[in-house]
Amino acid sequence: MTKQQANWSPYDNNGGSCVAIAGADYCVVAADTRMSTGYSILTRDYSKICKLADKCVMASSGFQADVKALQKLLAARHLIYQQQHNKQMSCPAMGQLLSNTLYYKRFFPYYSFNVLGGLDSEGKGCVFTYDAVGSYERVGYSSQGSGSTLIMPFLDNQLKSPSPLLLPALDAVTPLSESEAVDLVKTVFASATERDIYTGDKLEIVVLNAEGIRREYIELRKD
């Protein structure tokens, strides 16, 4: 007798893409604002980016219900940290917390593909990229989501991050200026929107630097 397969899945994929690029003294985190299910659009105006701490922003694509639950959990843990240590969590610390939180649900994962971007304690840009169960790595740039297969090769070509296996360890940040990096992100999303049906509508760009956090929106194709 063959094993009975489930005819209901607790997961759904709401589509979308996210990107993060680390610079010498800034970090750019971007995601599109389309939320979809199957072949339909649920909304054209949904933010996938969440500010976790003063210098730490997370963008997540995948199943948005799981993403919302994850964001809520991390916000609560951050509040506790602030009460206990009397300071904001640094980006690398939040990176480790996110990894542990994801692995905690190793056997019923958060269907959430995350990139964490921010400034480390020295003020340099840092980007962490995750899989659904918490494996993470600090990199110079990353993309996740439905358009990542279209975006990543182009970023590899333009930004080529040095291998983490090299000794002595090379800086993972890109030499591009902030405006050049934002321009690159806009181009990359315009191209991904052309070929990926789940990416489009609007692009939300969040830039973190010494002055603070700034948000920018640009229109993408709506078809």
Partner: protein, 274 residues
Amino acid sequence: MSQAAVEVPPKGGFSFDLCRRNDMLSKKGVPLPSFRKTGTTIVGLIFQDGVILGADTRATEGPIVCDKNCEKIHYMAPNIYCCGAGTAADTEAVTEMVNSQLQLHRYHTGGRESRVVTALTLLKSHLFNYQGHVQAALVLGGVDVTGPHLHTIYPHGSTDSLPFATMGSGSLAAMAVFESKYHEGLTREEGINLVCEAICSGIFNDLGSGSNVDICVITKGHKEYLRNHHMPNPRTYFHSQGFSFPKKIEVLFTKVTPLKEMVGVIEGGDAMEE
């Protein structure tokens, strides 16, 4: 004469021999290659002077757009056009086949204008024979001596004759527009605008449809194929300067293997033996 039976290839159609092997492979986790579908919005309506057909121009392979501007309105006869949704190869093949058959039929019957019901019968019998394995969903429209006609044809071979019709993944979005705004006796301008609106509804609300609107207007003795009649999706962002692609491909090792032997010809050699 050998005793072994002669292997005769099956008489056309589909061979299901590999189904068991495909099943075994997919159980082992090897995915089937995806085929190109035209996740589509196609529509047709009858107006006072004839028929208007409309289609979007996006072709998809799963979640990726493989053609941003393909043609989904296929020529069948000078007075008959057919929009196709479903597997792109199937719609192309079936419409081209019936196009040829109609042309031959015209030659056999004294050059008379083809009738829409002829195309309809040829298409539906072909699709029924293949029991739905040829995944083509069509909207067939044209004007012949008996008047304007509009039909929908489903992959299993059933047909409907309607005053307005939509097919494809965006059919619900388009039908919502038709059901609100369609009425009998539309003028040419009203008809084109309505078809355009219905396709745009599919383009913006259905992820399987997109890019531009193609329209075809068929009236008695005249047809107009308006390719890219409406283009509501220009690219939103252009990079100011171009991109440089720095890394050149390094040549690590070169080896030349000649495929043909170079043979020298000697004049005045020995004569060939008888």
